[in-house]
């Protein structure tokens, strides 16, 4: 897997892999074992090659700078799908805690993301890593990226 790490200030690091079919299980394990509170790394994953490196770098840097303010965010995955003839970037944000205040902080960041990248179409999804999910802590992201909403 070819991977790159973007080093930001205060030890913030964004890892992302460029290659299609990146080993999701391995990344999921990394996310599941990491505590956002102890480890300020936000992992940004994409499994598609249709992102340009520039686009992916820009999105990753945005998340690195914005989401580090929300301790409960433990991972972000980006996928791009063609829907009705236009590419829609789906943003899957993974939270370690189900909390209304946390969710609304993420929503504010999503709103800024849309304003910042105003030429892109985005759809957003939240996923919980907590024990309250059916099946325990493993399912960071949906297995098959179900066609939600």
């Amino acid at each position: 897997m070819s991977a790159a790490a973007i080093h930001l200030d205060e030890g913030m690091r964004v890892d992302h892999s460029y290659r299609s079919g990146a080993p999701r299980l391995r990344l999921s394990s990394m996310l599941a074992s990491s505590s956002a509170k102890d480890d300020p790394t936000v992992y940004v994953q994409t499994t598609e090659e249709r992102f340009s490196n520039t686009q992916l770098h820009s999105l990753s840097a945005f998340f690195g700078n914005e989401l580090r303010r929300v301790n409960e965010v433990v991972g972000v995955k980006l996928t791009k799908r063609n829907q009705n003839g236009r590419d829609v970037i789906h943003v899957w944000t993974s939270l370690s805690k189900d909390d209304r205040d946390t969710r609304f902080r993420v929503y504010e960041i999503e709103e800024r993301l849309m304003s910042h990248f105003h030429d892109e179409l985005f759809d957003f999804h939240l996923h919980l890593t907590g024990d309250n999910l059916p099946g325990g802590r493993v399912p960071i992201y949906p297995a098959a990226d179900a066609d939600e909403g």
Binding site: Q83, I89, Y107, E111, H118, F124, A146, G149
Partner: protein
């Protein structure tokens, strides 16, 4: 394509459902149905506003972009919350309590209703 009034008729139907069923007395699967009704009502409020400008989003990607560009940023967080809760109930079999329904999901849905009914004059 559906007009403003077409969307608002659906809004009325889902509102009638929520009012009739008394959410604070609900048990599953009524809770899940109420979450779906709250989501559909919220979506049709937004699409009613967009239909005035002859905009008819085919998915949430398009809808979010139009919300950003058509003065609907104020309802974005509330709509996101209702949509997330609906998706959790639908795709993750997440169990919600009456408290979740009334204090979180319907609270957001009421926020959308309050803003959109003022904008739409209904």
């Amino acid at each position: 394509m559906p007009t403003r009034d077409d969307h608002l008729k659906l809004v009325d139907q889902f509102t009638a459902f929520l009012d009739r069923e008394r959410p604070h007395l609900m048990t599953p699967p009524q809770i899940e149905l109420a979450i779906a009704a709250a989501y559909y009502r919220s979506l049709h409020y937004i699409d009613a506003w967009l239909a005035i400008a002859d905009l008819h989003p085919a998915n949430d990607g398009e809808r979010f972009a139009e919300m950003r560009d058509r003065d609907l940023r104020g309802v974005f967080p509330q709509y996101r919350n209702v949509k997330d809760r609906y998706n959790e109930a639908l795709y993750q079999a997440r169990k919600f309590t009456v408290y979740d329904l009334t204090e979180d999901i319907l609270d957001s849905a009421r926020g959308i209703r309050d803003i959109m009914s003022r904008k739409l004059g209904c």
